[in-house]
């Protein structure tokens, strides 16, 4: 304290300003610096507590991510032999984004300092605002920020996770499981649920373009995130975990969804009466009547996931096939049992398994290997039996795709079948590409079968790890009926 901060910077360190691609002139709100910062200040780093949220955030970004990170604490001094800045204003370089993790009462002042410094946005991790009954303090922060067109995420949130770029989650890096970079944009009102879903996505091999925990959503809200992701080239599907909307915010949300060029998936909490009570005490937002919510989502082609399994399945399927279908599925299987399980799941999810054209069945029959011609069942669901070989499967998938009554092919593959080769995934992907109809595969998720799974996934064909999961993927495509 008391020393000018420059004393702590070794004199031989040249001052190299980071080239911030996100900076543009003008005061228009732009979230680019917030989500793609080149430089970041972490305000509230503790000099004594190494597991303080700000320290966790500072350490992990400083050590593991390309974003250049500066720690800030009014005491100044050194932190791990690097300069600790007494305020954001003491940082010589341009600061794109600030993570604010100070006590709620200090947040307005810190936000003002950030604005003065020319910081372009913030993640306010701190709690103690509307969720704790302190709405006026939250409003003060919003007023200051709006006046200066200074967007922020939070308060009371985990902030943002942009794979390979920046991570403001105050969870120790070694403790959380993070999905790889991918094309799903994820927005959550709850930080805890977001982390859970990240584990879920990582387990399913689904990647994220950006995950944002918006907490009390005092400035950046779901609707802003829709705009952002709609324009973001790296995002193909936009997923939301929503507890409730503010007054008429739901209307604005679905109006924006209608303009949005990408599929939107939503997981809603607070469906039951008890659940609604839990929500209103959780993030200080009112949960409305769930039926109204659900019906209006359907009306506007939002794919509402009933649970986290559907959420993952919907995201994966829609990232491959953004176009909707009416819901008529052709099922190709190597075992009668799998076909029956799939048909049951289809009926449960209101998906049709239509009768095939006679021409389709005849075409398949005359081309089947002679060994299975008499034992294969050629009505939908097709059962080619465990004696079929690659060429039977590829041929049947081709004619199934060409059937006028079929909009999407479900390929239920049993990789342990003796006639199936490791190349079947790539071969069937070629069929899907040639015929131009969506294909969804089921392959048991085991390391042993990885080569088959990759054959599909590298060709952008979604693979489910269960028959039910494959049907859920088809359900995602059915979300919107074309009129």
């Amino acid at each position: 304290m008391g020393y000018p901060v420059s004393l702590f910077i070794p004199p031989d360190t040249p001052f190299i300003p980071v080239n911030s691609a996100c900076r543009k002139k003008g005061r228009k709100v732009d979230l680019k610096c917030l989500f793609r910062p080149a430089t970041m200040a972490v305000i509230g780093v503790s000099t004594s507590q190494d597991n303080h949220p700000a320290n966790v955030i500072y350490n992990k970004n400083n050590l593991r991510y390309p974003v250049k990170t500066f720690p800030v604490n009014p005491k100044g001094g050194l932190l791990n032999r690097e300069p600790l800045y007494p305020s954001v204003g003491h940082i010589q370089e341009d600061v794109d984004m600030a993570v604010i993790a100070v006590r709620a009462a200090f947040v307005p002042t810190v936000v003002e300092q950030c604005i003065q410094k020319g910081v372009r946005g913030a993640v306010i991790v701190s709690g103690g605002f509307a969720e704790a009954g302190n709405s006026s303090l939250q409003q003060r922060v919003v007023d200051i920020a709006r006046e200066a067109a200074f967007p922020f995420v939070g308060p009371n949130c985990l902030g943002i996770y942009a794979p390979d770029h920046v991570d403001t989650f105050f969870l120790p890096g070694e403790r959380i499981i993070r999905p790889d970079k991918g094309n799903i944009g994820f927005v959550s009102q709850s930080g805890g649920v977001l982390v859970d879903q990240m584990v879920n996505f990582a387990g399913q091999g689904i990647g994220l373009s950006l995950a944002v925990s918006i907490g009390n959503k005092a400035y950046v809200r779901e609707t802003d995130m829709l705009d952002w992701f709609d324009r973001d080239l790296g995002t193909k599907v936009i997923a939301f975990y929503v507890e409730g909307f503010e007054r008429r915010e739901g209307r604005l949300f679905v109006e924006k969804v209608e303009q949005c060029s990408k599929p939107v998936v939503i997981l809603k909490a607070g469906k039951s009466k008890k659940g609604s009570e839990a929500v209103s005490s959780h993030t200080a937002s009112l949960a409305g009547d769930y039926r109204v919510f659900s019906e209006i989502m359907k009306q506007h082609c939002v794919a509402e996931a009933e649970n986290e399994y559907e959420l993952a399945a919907f995201c994966e399927a829609l990232s491959c096939y953004p176009q909707g279908i009416n819901g008529k599925i052709g099922i190709l299987s190597l075992s009668g049992g799998h076909g029956v399980i799939a048909v049951d799941a289809c009926e449960l999810n209101d998906i049709a398994v239509p009768r095939l054209e006679q021409e389709t069945m005849d075409s398949i029959k005359k081309r089947l290997s002679p060994e299975i011609r008499k034992i294969a069942s050629l009505v939908n669901p097709l059962d080619l039996t465990g004696s079929s070989v690659d060429s039977d499967i590829v041929m049947a998938a081709t004619y199934l795709s060409r059937d006028k009554n079929v909009e999407c092919v479900l390929a239920l593959l049993l990789p342990y079948s003796p006639g199936v080769s490791a190349d079947i995934g790539a071969k069937l992907s070629q069929v899907a590409r040639n015929e131009g109809k969506p294909m969804i595969a089921y392959v048991p998720k085991e390391d042993k079968y990885k080569i088959i799974i990759e054959g599909f996934e590298l060709n952008n064909i979604p693979v489910a790890s269960s028959v039910d999961g494959a049907v859920l993927m088809a359900k995602a495509l059915k979300r919107c009926r074309p009129w």
Partner: protein, 233 residues
């Protein structure tokens, strides 16, 4: 999309907090929607003349500022086809709490449906649609969409009902004229959008549909001022 006089009707009822049936129906008529032929009177002679001129039985209802829920207050009598029946029921209705006039109207027969609107906290005006009668509350077989409705929304609402065959027709029954139903619901939704600040909820219950008509047999409008207005029975 809305008649300039519609706002005046709502304004007139603001202090009451809800709109009585004759005014509510007048509002629907201004919106181009179908209501039954009626007479609003205190005189038995006038009512009897209406009954005699009518080809079908009539309905008699008490119009009272104190009666929001008419069925519970026994303020509705359906199926009146004789002068004697009309006379006794009119006399009884006139004794009900706050009864100002008697509404006598043509009784339309057909399929009963319910159309409602609600100003939802998260989504603003929404439209509710279902098969009418007492079973609507038991099965809750309804569809909800955000207003204003597009014609496609009306078709999808029908399609999403469990009992959709009742609307679309089954076993030789004609079902509902979808063009007329669509006209009714789309126009109704525009009315609700235009007065979303004034209106809290609306029940068109029942709407009676035949092969060539959808007639609003009863309408109740609760205004946003309802909670601040006086208590009603």
């Amino acid at each position: 999309m809305v008649n300039e006089n519609s706002g005046k009707i709502l304004e007139k009822n603001k202090s009451l907090g809800w709109v009585q049936e004759p005014d509510a129906k007048a509002l629907m008529k201004l919106q181009g929607l179908d209501i039954p032929d009626f007479i609003l009177t205190d005189s038995f002679e006038a009512a009897d003349q209406f009954l005699k001129a009518s080809k079908s039985p009539v309905v008699a209802k008490a119009v009272s500022k104190k009666i929001l829920h008419k069925t519970e207050a026994q303020a509705v009598v359906t199926g009146i086809s004789s002068s004697e029946h009309l006379k006794t029921e009119m006399a009884r209705l006139q004794t009900l709490d706050g009864c100002e006039h008697i509404l006598v109207e043509q009784m339309v027969q057909g399929l009963e449906i319910i159309i409602g609107a609600k100003n939802d906290y998260q989504f603003g005006p929404v439209i509710v649609f279902g098969i009418g009668g007492t079973s609507v509350e038991i099965y809750n077989d309804t569809a909800i969409r955000m207003a204003p409705l597009k014609p496609g929304d009306v078709y999808s609402m029908v399609e999403s009902l469990t009992a959709k065959e009742i609307i679309s027709g089954y076993r030789g029954s004609a079902g509902v004229n979808m063009q007329i139903l669509t006209h009714l619901m789309v126009n109704f939704s525009y009315l609700i959008m235009a007065f979303e600040k004034e209106i809290e909820s609306v029940d068109l219950n029942p709407v009676i549909c035949t092969r060539n008509r959808c007639v609003i047999a009863d309408a109740r409008i609760i205004l946003s001022s309802f909670r601040t207005a006086g208590e009603v029975g």
